[in-house]
Symmetry: D2
Subunit: 115 residues, 4 copies
């Protein structure tokens, strides 16, 4: 994923210019990422599921912002740990295909606690 790699470079530069590497331990970045994930949840907490499928322009703009924040921290964390996101994804999808065979789990929410 050349594009994730470009993002990695940009964020690395962004942090270096601000002397922020000192704050970016993986522990701290995991905290920051989870905070952004909760800001995303906050956008949806009082909406019904149906309303969450039909956001207003203002709601969608807020959600889009949080999606970007999560992506930024995720790439920053992966960079700090030398984790290659595309490889991690391929491994995980293969694992999920084995864990949730389409013909077995079809329509079942029971066993569906994660991808």
């Amino acid at each position: 994923m050349k594009e994730l790699d470009d993002l990695r470079q940009r964020l690395r530069h962004f942090a270096a210019e601000r002397d922020w590497d000192q704050f970016h331990s993986p522990k701290n970045l995991s905290m920051a990422l989870s905070v952004e994930a909760s800001e995303l949840v906050e956008c949806f907490q009082w909406l019904t599921e149906e309303q969450s499928c039909n956001l207003t322009a203002e709601q969608l703009a807020a959600v889009t912002d949080e999606i970007a924040d999560i992506q930024l921290y995720l790439v920053r964390l992966a960079d700090k740990l030398n984790v290659d996101i595309p490889s991690a994804l391929n491994q995980k999808i293969a694992k999920n295909e084995a864990k949730y065979p389409a013909d077995k789990v079809r329509g079942s929410s029971k066993k569906y606690t994660e991808y």
Copy 2:
């Protein structure tokens, strides 16, 4: 980001094959994403910052798994809301560059509550 787009297609197919679209409201996906973010936090909660920079192979494998999970749900959510992640990123980075000018915030953690 062609690669994020490929991932989007794969996950769409994965959900369709399992008839899981019924569970994938944006509200529910935001919850699932935040749960994965916390599983990431769990990997680091009792480590010092220094330890978090020097993970064992086992710890790193667990973290890598969670990074993949977060990326999967993020792409799935963005797909459901027709959010284009690369555009969202470009917007957000421009916003952050204006909000945190390198020469002003250098080394300051004070104003540094997000990217």
Copy 3:
């Protein structure tokens, strides 16, 4: 709240006996608490709102467990910071009553982002 105070003492003893104070910095405890909060969210993530009001015995037992975990970490954190939970509650409820006057916000979810 004498009972919260008893709990505080019990948890303090529990940690001391296990030599766990070394791990219980407020930073780490906040992470642990948020992880427990997400385990609670996990119980509900694929349920409809209506289903969440009508849990099975098994689901309710899991939720009850998470409620206890959150309460434990909250009391432990407050103890570490010398925060008196009953006073904090009284302050906060007074603040909320001023912020959300019953006659103004009745039935409105708009401004309702927190208590």
Copy 4:
């Protein structure tokens, strides 16, 4: 815990006066609680563990506010599900004493992923 019970009554009244019961499904309350837990994490994310033990007055006030918010939502959720927090605590502490015998786990962070 008479005091938690008083709090339960106050919050029930608070919600009824504002016609907010319609938003307070257990699913939604779990989301709101996790959002507050992350606001707590946000207070600590860029602090060192040592700094988190020595908060400024301003930082401590912010943390105290979040502790109250978490307690409020926890009591509200327990009320909605008829969960008795004191009983839940007693059960959980007994479970933890069996799971983490003091003489076995002393000083070990290894097995220490929860209370």
